[in-house]
């Protein structure tokens, strides 16, 4: 029961690509934490030690009646709680639960230079244009010092993000907005300089403008 917000954009929505259809048998099983019967000492807000996930007692299950909702809840009983310390604890544990999702998502792996002078960062629907511009520099123009990292997870960030960032001299965050992801990175990694390349014209990045910008930063 962790809310997932899927960010998408017009480019992804309107784009098309061949897609290998999986059989349902090849898909990972979706597991849930539903508790089917009353156990002694069960509490609605008990958490799994590792993931901090709670069990899920659904209506129709005898003996596990409880209430959920937007008011702050006691960390064990799940009853409404107005205790200041409990609220602080719950706020922190919810944040920690999301943080631990980093244990379930893949680490980030850059393409092209694994370390070097410039790391280009993108996310969302800009993959195609950013990737081909970096590829062109690397393959055609011989810039073996440019790497590209495309983020599929923004919160939490992949566990090895800091390590990745430390391997390049300059970091350029390219976004089709005013720099939201650059700000997320700044907030998470103080002391690292994030350069920005933004375009907010309702148009995708053009190859020429990208190549020109990248070159300008390394030459």
């Amino acid at each position: 029961m962790t809310p997932v917000i899927l960010l998408t954009d017009g480019y992804i929505a309107n784009g098309s690509a061949p897609w290998k259809i999986k059989s349902i048998d090849d898909m990972p099983e979706i597991k849930n934490n539903i508790i089917k019967e009353k156990k002694p000492n069960w509490h609605p807000y008990d958490r799994d030690e590792k993931t901090l996930a709670r069990t899920w007692a659904i209506p129709g299950t005898p003996g596990l009646e409880h209430r959920i909702g937007g008011l702050e809840k006691d960390k064990v009983t799940g009853n409404v709680s107005y205790v200041p310390e409990n609220h602080e604890y719950m706020t922190k544990i919810r944040a920690e639960k999301i943080k631990r999702v980093e244990n379930c998502i893949p680490e980030i792996k850059p393409e092209y230079a694994q370390e070097g002078d410039l790391l280009v960062i993108g996310w969302g629907g800009t993959y195609g244009t950013l990737h081909s511009a970096v590829k062109q520099l690397y393959d055609e123009y011989g810039y073996k010092n440019v790497g590209y990292a495309h983020f599929n997870y923004i919160n939490p960030l992949p566990k090895n993000t800091k390590e990745l960032l430390s391997k390049y001299k300059k970091i350029l965050v390219c976004e089709l907005n005013n720099g939201q992801f650059a700000n997320v990175l700044r907030m998470n990694f103080t002391g690292i300089e994030f350069l920005q390349f933004n375009k907010i014209q309702g148009l995708p990045f053009g190859n020429t403008e990208l190549v020109q910008k990248f070159k300008q930063l390394i030459d």
Partner: protein, 337 residues
Amino acid sequence: METTAVKQYTFKDFASDQEVRWCPGCDDYVILRSMQKALPEMGLKKEDVVFISGIGCSSRFPYYMDTYGMHGIHGRAPAIATGVKLANPKLSVWVITGDGDAMAIGGNHFIHVIRRNLDLNIVLFNNEIYGLTKGQFSPTSLVGQKTKSSPYGNTQPPFQPGELAIGSQARFFARIGGNNPKDMTDIFIEAEKFKGTSLIEVLQNCVIFNDGCYTKYTDKDVKEDQQIFLEHGKPMIFGKNRDKGLVLNGLKLEVVTIGENGITQEDLLVHNAKEKDPTLHQMLVRLQYPLATGIIRSYDDVTLEEREDALTAQVKSNSKFRKTDDLFFSGETYEIR
């Protein structure tokens, strides 16, 4: 609903151990107690009862019931409740909402849930004000009503919840005074029995921000003269002396006195809550004198679940899709080798 081998509950079984946070004297307590008294009469298992609310003083209700419950999102209880009911149709699902929750921010959800006729029960706590946020006018506040957000008087004509609901094809609509626990309890039981969406409007006094808004109808001294309590199959009669009644005069309801102008009880309209045509029910809902209470409309119709089940069975029997993969690999798919 399963009725076999159900434990005999008392109202205490449905009371949670949580401290109730409503203001002393609030009619919400009456509604809570009436519900706790009605539930043991319904032959349900406790674990099969679910209360889903939105936001407001009224929407704190689920916390005080020892059943499954969810204090939801402002105006969105119908959507959550629809999901709960469709996921497990044997549950008895109750939506708890206020006049603001149901008709301001949740107006859209409200009319559509009623139109669809899923087997849900909706209890609308109508105090003609936003209580929780400390007294702003709501969609049921009266013209001229002075509130925190209308210091010189409200200029917006109010909704009549029953009128809106019947306009949205409500099959079951009841109205009851917030100071009448006995009839309220009975109405809750009838609402549960009814297959389809039942809406119960409680005229709920908010002692803090809109005190006395219903006294002219609900006060002990006046209620028999100012309210007509409707019962299916019974004449539309009211008054302390049981000498007043309703007749139809052209396209209007008219109050008459038995014994005057040759009127006898035989001349009075007989309440037919089960009539499909809602015209008379709408007229009753709009009536200002006397104010109609009781079960005004209770028309048996096909429920959404029944329609869904029938459609599913029909599509299943004809469908070329037998499993999910059949669907995945259907249509214009091709393979790159």
